[in-house]
Assembly symmetry: C2
Homo-oligomer: 187 residues x 2
């Protein structure tokens, strides 16, 4: 099983920071569902988890996915193919449980952040590729102002921040996911 | 002047194709303004042109930019810094005129597309970097189902499509811009 096929994106709406550094739950953004699903499909990923503890928001995402899975999706097959990757779950724990059930072993959790930190791993993917061939991998992305510290504590690896030129590090999460997947799987 | 500093993104809402292959004008999407501005700022670009012939839509984008340039922007400086790169113009010709006036020479037009074609250039940037040091460069991106043929006829270069794994080539334009800038300027 190739690394891409057993790699998943998880977009966390909780626990994440707001601008003041408080742990909050952000609202699901429609375009995050679509854009990240299309990027995940482009790079051949195993799936894309939209993670929110808010039941109404999970229902909303499920409705979007069902909409494109139904007759309407016939009119835009690429959209349907992308959204078929979406799984809607209440927590990171649910992601772990689901992948452990599907793959027979617990996933490797790889956190991402715009902030620099000690002990981050690079973008060549060898830290992930070198692992057992059957272990699923989850790339964790935070909405709002980024993943809360407790997620980094739970994660096995933390990728180095995506840097452009200079100190500015405020990519949208949609852009960050696209760049991350291209760096890991685009060559 | 570095290549990034004299490179600009132009997002064209006309002339582009719709799903049926007809040349149309698409509507400006708020998130295209924000996301692409943030990506352009991250990679140190010279600016970001939002191109639409529809005056009301240009006014809308100008309002968004003014909003963040004003007192409200104090609360989110990274957003203001990104949106300061946005220029709103009616046509590709206006992009060319503006850059010719600013830089003293006409820009190199580099088209992008999801579809493969003959004679495309690669992502190492040498085709652009090898040019005269003062010439501005415009990366042209299409909304809808991509740039119309007349834009490719006018362009000097055409970049190879961004490919992931397999045949799926339906990235969002926001994701495509992010990946393109990272490939050209991210290392």
């Amino acid at each position: 099983m190739s690394l891409a096929t057993r790699t998943y994106v998880a977009l966390l709406h909780h626990p994440v920071y707001n601008r003041e550094g408080k742990v909050v739950t952000t609202a699901v953004t429609n375009l995050d569902v679509h854009d990240i699903a299309r990027s995940a499909r482009t790079y051949g990923l195993g799936g894309y988890f939209v993670v929110t503890p808010v039941e109404l928001q999970r229902d909303l995402v499920s409705e979007i996915v069902s909409h494109w899975a139904g007759p309407y999706g016939d009119s835009n097959l690429p959209r349907r193919q992308a959204l078929a990757l979406v799984r809607v779950v209440p927590s990171l724990e649910a992601v772990i449980e689901r992948l452990a059930a599907d793959h027979g072993r617990s996933p490797l959790l790889v956190a991402t952040a715009a902030r620099a930190a000690e002990g981050t791993v690079g973008w060549e993917g060898e830290d992930m590729a070198g692992l057992e061939q059957d272990r699923p991998v989850v790339l964790l992305f935070g909405t709002g102002w980024g993943l809360a510290d407790q997620v980094f504590e739970e994660a096995h690896l933390r990728l180095a921040p995506i840097r452009g030129r200079g100190e500015y590090n405020h990519l949208s999460v949609r852009a960050a996911v696209a760049i991350a997947l291209d760096r890991l799987f685009g060559r």
